[in-house]
Symmetry: C2
């Protein structure tokens, strides 16, 4: 005797299933790239903001972008110039698919915010498109397509935002692979996004030039302390390690009010605080949500002193990965 | 009723105990500094070689070096010019001790070998002297004195050799602290020391100049993979990470036959292989002792092809810390 519930699943008619897989929608969360000590290789997801993508299967073997809506609209609709479009092109070509994709993006992350907006569009589009494949790929297998898309946005192949969106949580992202790093569930991030734009390419240009070996030794030690602290769930080690001595000094002048905002973050028992991704957003890590909430308010006030309104986000460091969703936001 | 054995211990006469603590002897193992991806911050002990120190308590508040014997004899006897002497001076001054130390060193590690010879002298002397204190310090508390000694030898305060000698095993050593990193007991290191000298200062001079940010990113990713592999006991991650893209290319020309020796190390299933410390010794990591033994022989043969005789050492990566011992080697 089989149960009615199992029978119902087994009896799902094939045509309905096929119809259901002609379109899929996904949400990819924002992320904090670099995490102070892992430039280009370390990031974590921040579920409080994100991009959504709707992907429709096309009979024609091509990639089209139907529309871009939400908080950013003036992005290129030519797929090879668009970060999400380029990711879908890379997927279609690598898998030699006999069909194509039509993409509609709903941006929930501002461009040039340091919250991984370009990566979120890539990942949301890939996760939705993946659901339309006969044999969907693993999240790790989507990574190389996502890197192609990210390169369109920033001119650099780096996965510190893509990795956490694909796998969730804190992720080490090399050129070749992703690895999730354990983080205690109580640890929270406060992320504050001031209403000004810092283009990723400009943020990267601030890093041009040469570096001394000693700078790297100090930053490596901090990275090692942070990783050891995460693997051991030891906040004291993270407090020692969560300090960017390499990149932050070069980028801080590009973020209005940075010194005061960082101090506000630290004043609320932060493990550490720094610039999120290429900036101008600033983040701090905390032992609990209450500290992160208090810090977010103080950081917002500090940006206000610098003449900038801002949005605040508080979420667990060990945040979720991108997921399939039922619908794009209603914009009626 | 108490047991005779306990009675015997309790009955140990106080004068005998006091006499026993007038002199102490310690052994500090060799070490592999840098471990390819942790320049100046990561090292592990190698128990198959080491230095010994005998320290005698002096009534006078001074530090003297009575003799230096073993495989190196032409070292300065002025304590502030000698690595172990400087470490004892730092200890005596910091603790404001009302007595002094007389040191006899027995060198088992060749100078300029890349096996942590100067660090081993520091640590052996400090561990022995520590046993003469009324209230001996923790190994972590000895670290700052050891750094003072190491600076005399290399001109740089770095603890990648000191740390593993003080704590044992694989150790992360920042300027401020030591942290032991877990390593599976089966993992072994093959270390081969060719009979030529590469002065630490010369090895450091090869690293002068500027570095590109991209080099740091690649090396950071490797360091992160190595650490994650150790915390998870995952050899595949260590295989990905144990590659020095930053320092080895600059130092390799200083090590005769390096390319062939490294290849010999890799040919025997190494996780990775590189220069030990400042060189010229070369090391590889292996999943088991048998692989490490085979590799050590092949590496020795490769050095022989370059015209160099060499010594081989095979020991667990998770090796022991420095220990008190009963006697210096008999040199009669």
């Amino acid at each position: 005797m089989s149960s009615p519930a199992v029978d119902a699943v087994l009896a799902t008619p094939a045509p309905a299933a096929a119809a259901r897989t002609d379109v899929a929608r996904a949400f990819a969360p924002a992320s904090v790239g670099n995490v102070a000590v892992g430039f280009d290789i370390l990031g974590h997801s921040m579920v409080e903001a994100g991009d959504r993508a709707e992907v429709r299967r096309l009979a024609e073997p091509e990639v089209r972008i139907a529309a871009i809506r939400g908080c950013v609209a003036d992005l290129p609709l030519e797929p090879h110039k668009n970060t999400a479009g380029a990711a879908l092109l890379a997927m279609r070509e690598a898998l030699d698919l006999p069909f194509g994709f039509e993409l509609t993006l709903h941006k929930g992350i501002a461009l040039g915010s340091g919250m991984g907006g370009s990566a979120a569009s890539c990942v949301a589009a890939l996760v939705a498109a993946n659901a339309l494949l006969e044999q969907p790929l693993s999240r790790e297998a989507l990574y190389r397509f996502a890197l192609e898309g990210e390169a369109v946005a920033s001119g650099s192949r780096h996965g510190d935002n893509l990795g956490p969106m694909l796998l969730g949580g804190l992720v080490l992202a090399t050129h070749e692979r992703l690895l999730r790093i354990p983080v205690p569930p109580a640890w929270h991030c406060a992320l504050v996004h001031p209403h000004c734009v810092l283009e990723t390419r400009k943020a990267r240009a601030a890093l041009a030039g040469n570096y001394a070996l000693g700078e790297f030794v100090a930053q490596s030690a901090n990275l090692a302390l942070l990783l050891a602290g995460c693997f051991r769930g030891d906040a004291a080690l993270v407090r020692e390690g969560l300090k960017d001595v390499l990149v932050e000094p070069r980028r801080a002048p590009l973020v209005p009010g940075f010194i005061r905002v960082k101090q506000a973050a630290l004043d609320h028992h932060a493990f550490g605080a720094s610039i999120s991704g290429g900036g101008p957003s600033v983040f701090g890590w905390y032992a609990c949500r209450a500290d992160a909430d208090a810090a977010a308010s103080a950081m917002r006030a500090a940006f206000a002193e610098a003449g900038l309104d801002s949005d605040t986000f508080v979420a667990p460091v060990d945040g979720p990965a991108a997921t399939l969703v039922d619908a794009l936001p209603d914009e009626a």
